[in-house]
Every structure is written in C-alpha cells, then in structure tokens.
Symmetry: C2
Subunit: 352 residues, 2 copies
DNA sequence: ATATATTGCACAAACGTTTGTGCAATATAA
DNA sequence: TTATATTGCACAAACGTTTGTGCAATATAT
C-alpha cells in the first residue's frame, strides 16, 4: 500500500512520527506558523482563523505530538528530574519515589530513576549520567561520606536537593525526617519503660542522619541521667546483615542490652532474624524498636514498636521545592519532617 | 573574576557546560574534528596525532561531557527506556525496577520511571508522555483490561515488552512467571494436605495473568478429581482491601474454606490482617498460601508458605530482550519464568 | 492620490550533536 | 616536470523545535 511506503520512508529517522515539518509540508504553510498555532500563540502572532483551523485539524488527524527531545534541546529545559536513591527495593525509597513521580507528573515532569546501590562510585557515575541527560533538577538520597561531587553540581547552578540523607558540611538543602527527635522519643520511651541498657545498631556513620539519630539516643540518656555504655552502640551499614550480626554481638556482651533500637528497616529486619534464630522472646527477653515502620510490623507476634517516617511527604515536598528552584521562584529551605512513634507490643515494661 | 563572567555569559543557555563548539573555538579547529576525535574516530578520519592530543587534553581540562539530548535528537536514539509499573511501592515491582535499572545502566541506558497507579487513564497519558520523550523502548506492566493503546505503539515499530501482566489477544511479547504452574503447585500442595475447600482471592480478572493463575487452581482440582465450588473464587483487584474483605466473605460462607490462596502479596497482606483481626489461628483454623514471597513471611508465626516469583530475573530478561529488539538483533520471544513453592508452616495437614 | 498601519505569513538562526563531502596542501609516482 | 595519491582538515546539512525579524499584501487615514 502507498501509505505503508510513505511510513517506511519517513520512519528511517523518526519512526514515522509526524513533525512540524510534516504538517508544514502537507499544508503549505511555514513551520513557524504551525509551531505557534500548536503552542496557542495564534492570537499573539495574528494568525488567521482559517489557518489556525486547518492546522489544528490536520495535527489532530495525523496525531501530532511534540518531540520533547527537540524541545529540550532548543529550550535547554527537559522537564526531567533525576532521582537517585541508594536502593529502590527499600520500601522507604520506593514509597518516596512513588510520590515524587506522582507529584512531578502533575507538573509535566518525568523522573529518570537511578539506583546507586549504596556505592559511591556508582553514585558518581550516575550523577554524570544524569548531568549528560540535562535533567532540570536532581533529587538525591546520597550514599554519604563524600559530597564533593554534589558541590560541583550546585556550582553549575543545577537545582539539587537531598532527601533522607544529607550533609551539613555543605549548604545543599535537604528534606529529611526529624531524625534526632525520632530517636530521642524512642529512647525516652524505652527508658521510661525501665530500660537502662539499650543497644543502638547504626547505619553508615558517614551520614549526618546517623549522627543525628545517635544524638537523639544520647541526649535521651543524658536527660534521664543515664550513663551510656559505648559498646552498646554498634554497626556501620544500612543492611540486614548488619542488623543480624550486630544483634549477635550485642547479645554476647557481658551485660547484654535489654532493648535494641535499630536505625532503619533493613537493620530492623536483621535484628528480627537474629532474634528468631536464637529463639528469643520479644519483649520479655529482648525489647525492640525499629526506625521505619512497615506494614508487616503490626502483624508480627508480638507487633513491633516503630518510628514511622512520612516518606510520602518527604517526596512531595522535595518535588515542590525542586520545581520552585527550577523556576527561580525561591531558594530551597531545608526541612525536617516530624516522625511518629507507633507504640506496639515489642517493649517490655521493666517497671511493672 | 573574568572566569565567572565567562561562565555567566555562557550559562544563559547551557549552564556553562562546555560544548563541542566551545572546544572548537578555543582550539581553532572545526567542530567536526572535535566530534570525531572525542568519539574515537581519529584514525578513521586521518586526524593528525597533534590535533588529537590537544583536543583530548583540552576536553579533559574543561570537563567536556556530551549533551545526550542533542545526541538523542541527532541520532533519533535517546538511550532511554520507559518503565511503566502499576505501583512502584509494591516490592515485587520495586525489585524488578532495581534489576532493570542496573542491567540497563550497564548498556548505557537510563530508565524513565512512570507509575500508572493501577489506573488505565493514567496509563494512557503516561504512554503518550513516554512516546513524546522518544524512549528507545518500553517495559510495561500494564493495568489490564484494554491493550489498544499498546497495539498502536507496536504499529509504530517501537520496541515494547510486557512484564508480569500481559495480553494474549495481542502478539506483544511478555516475560512473566509461570503463573499457571505456580498456582497449580500451590493448589496441589493444599489438596495433598487434605484440603478440599480452598478459597481463591483474585486480582483484576481483566488480566490474563489472573486467568492463568485461576486455571492452575482449577486444573489442580480436576487432576485430583475434586469439585470446585464457584463461590470459593472471589475478589477482583490487586489490593490489601480486597484481601481483607474477601477473606471476611469467605469466612461467612456456609461451608467456609479450610485454606486460602491469595493471588498476590497485597491481597495476601489483607488476608493476614483479616485473620489477625478475627483472632484466627493459622494453620489449624485456616491455612494460607500467598502468591509472591516477602522477607517478612518467614518471620511471622507461623511462617507463611508462599509462591516465590523471580522478579530479579524477569527484570533482567526484559531489559536484555528490549535491547536486542532495539538493536534489531532478533524479535522478542515471550517467556515464562518458573516459580518456587516455599513450604513453611501455614498449611495444616488435615491428613495427619 | 499618496502615506501609513495592519494583517498574515515566510525565512533564518539557534540549541549541540553527527556525518557526508569538498578542497587545499603535501607526498608519491610516472 | 607533470599527474596522481594521500593527508588533514573545514564546511554544511540534518535531527525537530522555538523565536526574532522581514516583507509582501491589504486596509485605513490624509
């Protein structure tokens, strides 16, 4: 069929998708006229109603859709946001990503998702990748440890905001939970329930976030005039393995803790595994609080007390902020989102 | 400083990023020479070593990085894959996405992630969005019910592959679990344990996948000469609510099932919630098998028997297939990935 | 009638690449 | 010495947009 030949010919470079040029040829009008009409600038450029109509009609008929790549090149704006997370399989980041994508799409933005896999080398590579793709802005949950590669970005005036994790050594803004408060509340709760030996299993200490959570743990002790045993603070990665191993080490101490505070959901899962393996009974033999809630925590027996982060809100606020920055509406302010301590049945009352 | 002025001037359109043009000006050579050198085509185009060296040196100094948007426009290839899932917060899709991104990045591809939120209208909008962004290929877990919008895509010769869910009414290839086998195995196991009243809580029946899983359930009955009560098959969405509600309905039947087979992880969670709420004891009062494994299932008491899908492999294979299709190496073959029945403690042995 | 405004459009440059072609200058051959 | 190869590069078109400018043709004013 003739039509197929036509499609085949055009398809060599553009898969047969209609372009402004195509419409302009078909209708014998200039490309600029077509562009202006399809961008709703007909009035502004005094284009006759007759022309407007035939162009709109034809564009609809052949199913014209703008080439966002070409638009991006010409405008130096791609309507694209780079989202980098250390592990998209972690529900915390998955939920955040969902809300980021949803909010971004409302504003015609799309998300390029990259996963650094908690590896700073990949993080650097992916950062360059995203820059090459000319994203209009970046939302990043960094691996931590070094932020020089991010400082380069802001020097190039590319909008960047951190989520969850951040660096206070730079002025790069961030949206995160109130990590201090979260751990303070949880620790205070444990102390109020009579615990004085509380194990704290940490993530990568190169993160401010970890230091803040640790500070909450410390200050809750101080405010209650409780000494801190340094050997109860342990662990250095956000992983199930760390949760598992650190729990075993804590249990082997001369005076093992009566409670454990796990610094994120992966660590918490590792703790649960270890407890399971050693056939310990929660909470009578060991109490547990996990930083990060998870649907299944309420179904475990006993159910597990958790510090719930509002990852939906963190994601949404990050998008709003980055969009404002992109549009030069205002500079981004760092924000701390409150956490909620969800009391369940994993903390034993030693005072009762 | 002079340098800053320079950056500011250039930054108006390109945030101060160096371009081929910039290098060409700085070094008084033509743009084409620079392009060819930086693409490793110096030999091929007989460019003198002297020129090659100064260009490479200067490019490194000013930190040249190619503009992938411009490259994409010129080559009609964006090194971008559109990934559409119905819910990135579902661990099944999150894990799949992680593996897709990882594998794609190896081949210099990046992922544009969109979430249809199980909504076919959003699915259609996002599909157009991805087309406008000129993705080189699409990996989609469709909402289901209608695939006309996808058929349009393949007519435009844009590589497309379904994952998890699919349509047999079209010839669009897919990578999915062996859904029939998964449910057959689980049902057979339940029957072998003496269950003859097995509730099946389904997801959206507009999906072939649901029909296949249902078929596995049916044929296992037939092969064991067991009759099927139609009122034991219930539910129509992949959601926790469906799992919760359907469980309650099943329990209110005159002859309630002695076991439930939940068709995905969200439904399974809803079943667990309902069981929890009604203080039922698994497995003595009700047995349970969930299609989809989850780390927490092994920590519940009792632990829950599950049909494990290999979402990592599904993701990886989908990328490999779509890349082959993009490079015209070969047409994509639909594949079914085996599932694994993980026996735990949630199935009561009525024969013991 | 001539001078000025308005209407409706076409043309061309630019965004940053890649790639086909042409053309000097030098080197080799006859 | 003249004809032919080879070397090394520049030029220009194209990808699909947007946007500033120019220029006819018509309409209005004097």
């Amino acid at each position: 069929m003739l039509w197929e030949v036509c499609v085949t010919l055009r398809s060599q470079s553009n898969k047969g998708m209609p372009t402004l040029k195509q419409i302009s040829k078909d209708l014998n009008v200039s490309i600029s006229i077509v562009s202006r009409i399809l961008n709703g600038k007909a009035k502004e450029f005094r284009i006759s109603n007759a022309t407007v109509e035939i162009v709109l009609k034809h564009a609809k008929e052949i199913g014209y859709a703008p080439n966002l790549i070409a638009k991006g090149l010409q405008a130096s704006q791609t309507f694209t946001i780079g989202l980098m997370v250390p592990n998209i399989a972690n529900p915390f980041f998955a939920i955040m990503a969902k809300n980021i994508e949803k909010r971004a799409f409302k504003s015609k933005y799309s998300i390029i998702l990259v996963d650094s896999n908690e590896n700073i080398e990949i993080e650097k590579q992916q950062l360059n990748n995203l820059l090459g793709r000319k994203v209009d802005g970046l939302i990043v949950a960094p691996v931590g440890g070094n932020c020089q590669h991010f400082i380069k970005i802001v020097k190039q005036k590319i909008p960047l905001i951190f989520v969850d994790r951040y660096f206070t050594e730079s002025t790069i803004p961030y949206i995160t939970s109130n990590n201090y408060q979260g751990c303070y509340d949880a620790t205070k709760h444990l102390i109020e329930m009579g615990h004085s030996h509380i194990g704290l299993i940490c993530g990568n200490n190169a993160n401010e976030l970890v230091q803040e959570r640790t500070r909450g743990y410390h200050e809750a002790h101080q405010d209650n005039a409780l000494p801190i045993s340094p050997n109860l603070t342990i662990g250095n990665t956000f992983s199930t393995e760390n949760g598992f191993d650190s729990t075993q080490k804590l249990l082997q101490l001369d005076t093992p803790p009566t409670a454990i505070l796990a610094m994120n959901n992966l660590i918490g899962f590792g703790v649960l595994q270890a407890i399971n393996e050693h056939n310990l009974v929660i909470p009578s033999q060991l109490s547990l609080v996990i930083f990060d809630d998870h649907p299944y925590l309420s179904l475990l027996s006993p159910s597990i007390t958790a510090i719930k982060q509002n990852s939906e809100k963190i994601g949404e606020m990050a998008v709003k902020a980055i969009l404002k920055e992109i549009n030069n509406e205002c500079d981004i302010q760092s924000k701390q989102i409150p956490t909620t301590l969800i009391l369940r049945d994993s903390v034993f009352n030693l005072k009762a």
